[in-house]
Structures are given as structure tokens and as C-alpha cells.
């Protein structure tokens, strides 16, 4: 069953070819300058650990299985009609590094997860898959009748505090206003608009 799990069908469409990526901040700024840009916003997530030589930025590895949104459920009364997200970091089901959660979104139910700081394994191990299936079962998915349709390993850009600042030194040297915005951890979808507005403000464009 688990061997049949595929990456999310949209992966190929959303992920873009990285061949043209930059090797350093200098190269990035130089390119910006060459093309007549006034400002550059660095939102490279975990990539900033290298681009900015920022050792305080580390990965927070997370893993997921996806089930169909309308997959069979157990422990659910027939009258229970409405989807809910369920999360816990408390035992016995979860821990702070192995949180258990189920989140219905779009056409799938997302089952997680992990929060392993510093880990960079790009694929799920068999043990991890088994544990996620157990999580799915705990959270009410009938894993004897439903199989995961996709799996995912992602890397939250974890930093003690978010780096959201103008790089004055690089900006002064290059003439391109450089704003670093990274280290938002697992809160990307929670803060993305606020961070965008803050960026506009910091660049003096509001």
C-alpha cells in the first residue's frame, strides 16, 4: 500500500526549475543592479542559511501523508457531518517534536507530523510512514479502508527570531535596497500577508 503513495500531483506544476538559482547574495544583488532594480526582497526561506551565511537558520523538518478529503472514518458517529482539524503536542498521541494533527484542506486531509530541527532527510522513512498511518488512525481515519494518496517532507525555515530587516551594509554598497525576510518557521501561511505589508512599509512604499 505505502509503495503506491505518490508525491502531490501538483508538485511538478508548482515547483520550479532551480537551475537558475543564485549561489550567493553578491550574485543576486549584482544581478538586481545589472537589471536596474531598486530593491530586492530575499524570501529564500532555508536557502538563506547559505545565501546569507546565517548559521542560526536551520531546518524544521516536517512530514505528511495526504488522504482523500472524503476518506472513510472510524470512531465517527453518523451524525458527525462536519470536518475539523485536530492537533496535539501532548502525550500520549503527540510530543513537541512529533505533533499529531489532521487538517482538512482542499481535496485532501493532511496528516502529520514532525518538527525535527536540523534534520534534512528529503524522503520519508518506512517507520515514519507507519507512524503517520497510526496518527491517521488515531485521528479517526479508517486506515484499513483508506490509503494515503500522497506524502510530503518539507523544511520549515526555523530561526530563533525572524530576520526581517534591511541589510544596510549591502544596500549601501550596492545601491540596491536589500530586505531580508526569512526564518518564519512553520507559520508561512499564517503571516504571509502581514509580512508582505511589513516589507512594503520597510521599503518605504506604503
Amino acid at each position: 500500500m505505502l509503495e503506491e503513495i505518490q508525491a502531490h500531483p501538483l508538485t511538478a506544476d508548482i515547483n520550479v526549475d532551480m537551475e537558475e538559482g543564485y549561489e550567493s547574495m553578491e550574485e543576486m544583488v549584482s544581478d538586481a543592479k545589472e537589471n536596474g532594480c531598486d530593491a530586492l526582497v530575499n524570501c529564500t526561506g532555508l536557502g538563506s542559511s547559505k545565501l546569507c551565511s546565517d548559521e542560526t537558520l536551520i531546518s524544521g523538518r516536517g512530514i505528511l501523508l495526504h488522504y482523500e478529503r472524503d476518506c472513510p472514518r472510524t470512531m465517527i458517529d453518523d451524525n458527525m457531518k462536519h470536518d475539523a482539524a485536530i492537533l496535539t503536542e501532548d502525550g500520549p498521541w503527540g510530543t513537541s517534536t512529533n505533533p499529531v494533527y489532521i487538517i482538512p484542506r482542499g481535496g485532501v486531509v493532511v496528516v502529520g507530523g514532525t518538527y525535527y530541527e536540523g534534520k534534512t532527510e528529503a524522503n520519508l522513512t518506512d517507520d515514519e510512514r507507519k507512524r503517520l498511518v497510526e496518527n491517521a488512525s488515531i485521528m479517526g481515519i479508517d486506515t484499513t479502508a483508506a490509503s494515503p494518496v500522497a506524502e510530503w517532507a518539507g523544511f520549515r525555515p526555523v530561526r530563533k527570531s525572524v530576520r526581517m530587516e534591511i541589510d544596510e551594509e549591502v544596500s549601501a554598497k550596492s545601491g540596491v535596497k536589500v530586505l531580508n525576510s526569512y526564518g518564519h518557521g512553520g507559520s508561512g501561511w499564517t503571516v504571509y500577508t502581514g509580512v508582505a505589508k511589513e516589507s512594503v512599509k520597510m521599503l518605504g512604499l506604503d
Partner: protein, 208 residues
């Protein structure tokens, strides 16, 4: 004329995919010690709730990009506000950081739009007779040691499809005339976590 440039996940040797696509997409500040996050999260909540409204107005049958889904965060112990705290409820610093003993609840829980409740498992059981949420039975949760829960109504983003839409916005912007410039900066910046190629902005610049 103002030219700008955004660089996303384009570090050359960075092989990982953006984590924003696989993310659960649940609006909830998580493991964030930075105080600035409260403001950013609130601004984003404004946007997501606005998108929810727009989604409801759509007549097509596609799943919404953003939807409100009740969320239950299970807890072993109380870790919430107690009766003695009530007298401080109206204080401006009621929900301060962890150093403030007035409330152990995070700032975001105060936003009335997410209808946050701190419940015992028995209260949750009672409420679920009405709410009819697909959650494990109360006995199962209680026997596992979960005696309390946070129940709230956050927006949840359909992450991959939202990224697809964002990608479409980028494509649209890069193929239109300079008259689009005025509002474009905001559009681009809101794609903070969206990976793109530098060819994208190069293409954009060529339209200027």
C-alpha cells in the same frame, strides 16, 4: 520608474521544495517566539477572511482556496485562564507574553473572529452534539488523557492550489503592460513564500 526584484527559493544548491506547498495551511501562529508575528498574523487573518468571503460568493463548484474549518487543539492539562484571571480580562496587557502571568493563552486567541474557546472535554462533548464535528469520541480522548481542548475557527488555505493561483498571478503580471505596475508591488510581495525563477522577474522587466 520604480523597478523591483524579488528573489524566492533560488539558492543554487538548495534542492528542497518549498515547504509552503505541503503545509497544512492552518492559520495559527506556531512555535513563534517573535513578538512581531502577532501583527503579521492579524494582517494575514484579515486577508484570509476576506478571501473566504470572496470564495463564498463564487458560483463554481470548485473547492475554495480558503475555508473556515473548526480546529481542536487537545491538551492534557488546563494551561488556560482560570477564574482569578477574570478581573484582568479587560486589561490591555491581559494576553501578554509568557512572562506575564495574567494569561497563559497566546495573543492570537483574543481575536473574536476565530471564536476561540478553552473547553473541558465534557464541554466539548456537549458542544459537539450541536456542532457535529468529525472528531474522535470523547471517551477515546478522555481515556488517552486529554482533558481540555482549544476549539476555534481558523481559515485554512488550500496550499498547493493557492500557490498555483499565485503562480498564475505572477504569469499574468509578467505578461501585461506597465499600467499594471501600480498595484503590482503588493501582489508580488504577498507571494513571500512562493518559489520562482529569476527568469520570472526578468520577463516581467522586459514588459516595462
Amino acid at each position: 520608474m520604480f523597478y523591483f526584484m524579488l528573489i524566492f527559493s533560488t539558492y543554487k544548491y538548495f534542492i528542497f521544495r518549498t515547504c509552503s506547498m505541503g503545509a497544512g495551511g492552518l492559520w495559527m501562529p506556531y512555535k513563534c517566539e517573535d513578538k512581531r508575528v502577532d501583527k503579521w498574523a492579524k494582517d494575514t487573518l484579515d486577508e484570509l477572511l476576506h478571501l473566504c468571503t470572496l470564495e463564498k460568493e463564487k458560483s463554481d463548484s470548485n473547492r475554495p482556496l480558503v475555508e473556515i474549518v473548526p480546529a481542536l487543539y487537545l491538551k492534557n492539562t488546563h494551561q488556560g485562564t482560570v477564574v482569578d484571571d477574570i478581573k484582568n480580562f479587560g486589561a490591555k496587557d491581559y494576553c501578554a507574553d509568557k512572562g506575564n502571568k495574567m494569561s497563559p493563552l497566546p495573543e492570537w486567541t483574543k481575536d473574536s473572529r476565530i471564536a476561540f474557546q478553552h473547553l473541558t472535554i465534557e464541554m466539548l462533548e456537549w458542544q459537539n452534539h450541536v456542532l457535529k464535528l468529525k472528531i474522535p469520541s470523547i471517551d477515546v480522548m478522555r481515556n488517552a488523557g486529554y482533558n481540555y481542548g482549544w476549539l476555534f475557527k481558523p481559515p485554512i488555505v488550500d496550499a498547493p492550489n493557492m500557490l498555483m493561483v499565485s503562480k498564475g498571478v505572477v504569469s499574468l503580471c509578467t505578461n501585461t503592460r506597465p499600467t499594471w505596475m501600480e498595484g503590482m508591488f503588493n501582489v508580488f510581495l504577498q507571494l513571500t513564500f512562493f518559489p520562482t525563477r529569476r527568469t520570472c522577474w526578468k520577463k516581467f522587466r522586459h514588459t516595462l
